[in-house]
Symmetry: C2
Subunit: 184 residues, 2 copies
Amino acid sequence: MARSNAQRGSARNPIEEAQERFTSAWGQMAGAWGISRTMAEVHALLYVTGEALCTDDVMEHLQISRGNASMSLRALQDWGLITRVHKRGDRKEYFEAESDVWTMFRTIARERKKRELDPLLASLYEIRDLTRDTKSDETAARINGRLDTMLDFVETIEAVSRSFLSPDGNGLEDAVVRLTQTED
Amino acid sequence: MARSNAQRGSARNPIEEAQERFTSAWGQMAGAWGISRTMAEVHALLYVTGEALCTDDVMEHLQISRGNASMSLRALQDWGLITRVHKRGDRKEYFEAESDVWTMFRTIARERKKRELDPLLASLYEIRDLTRDTKSDETAARINGRLDTMLDFVETIEAVSRSFLSPDGNGLEDAVVRLTQTED
DNA sequence: CAGTGTTTTCAACGAAGATTGAAATCTCTG
DNA sequence: CAGAGATTTCAATCTTCGTTGAAAACACTG
């Protein structure tokens, strides 16, 4: 009882502290890809640990409720960032994180594209069609011009994303490596 | 009284409706770059309108309070997405949005890098240093391996971002164009 | 198929963040 | 430099989102 409280905050040994700090740092990034802090922390924990953990492990490490752990694990599965693992002779379910960081990144990017970019693009098409046959005074022309410019831009972004993400390939990593090399 | 309520939701003419729908669609993207929905809507309004607006214009179009409008405009200035404009013979301040979409994108990306990526990288360095001289049993080795892999990855992302964003140049647009063309 | 261990669901609650509005501050103008 | 107009600030309030915990559903095992 005394022991399990004493180690709150800064963990016993360097490895545990590193694990805890990583989990927390990764949690800060939650906003960066539109998931809750807890969900990011669960993911970080599974990633850094590198082995399959069960709901109780997650609850204990992160000090969260069973319901919260269950929902976060479910959401991470929906994103495709973790997978279920069965251990025979054990009735509990275990989960482990995708270990390849590029795959992880691609998964997140693909999901965000689906949830944010694609709907935006769809909206922009609809909006353009609203004003397709409007006689343009000066103001209308300016506004339409801006909308068209934005649509072009978002289309370009979408095209780039698609070429990286949609095939099964790992074009992303290649491209990034190419880009970081000689910028001639 | 009847009139100003009647046009809530769908605006009178196609142009106004397009403007309103764009503002709303752009507002949905707020989460995507870590600002509040209102702030994104103010930005969208200024962008699509294409001319300088004052606080009262913003308040009226978006149906928000003076305080909220003031704070959102301030925040957008801090981000560098809008600039103040003085109209002579008028005591009010006016604001207009950056009109070049690539510049806009670069501004947002640069700010996010500063606020999210750089701190993450700093944390990861600290975390690595924690475990630098730990004798590694099997578990510790695995965890350290994962942390190193993640650090490499984030360093790479940082390097790519930096090469696009930090110079004054428009390397980003060029790179994107290059990437969308023949993928050989 | 009863019993036990495990996971999921969800209404109530709590925390974090956004918004308001009015007072305080600032800034022109005559 | 008084006063009107414009902007900013911030405590109180509202809203939204995340979390809890216990009940229900589920899934094994003997």
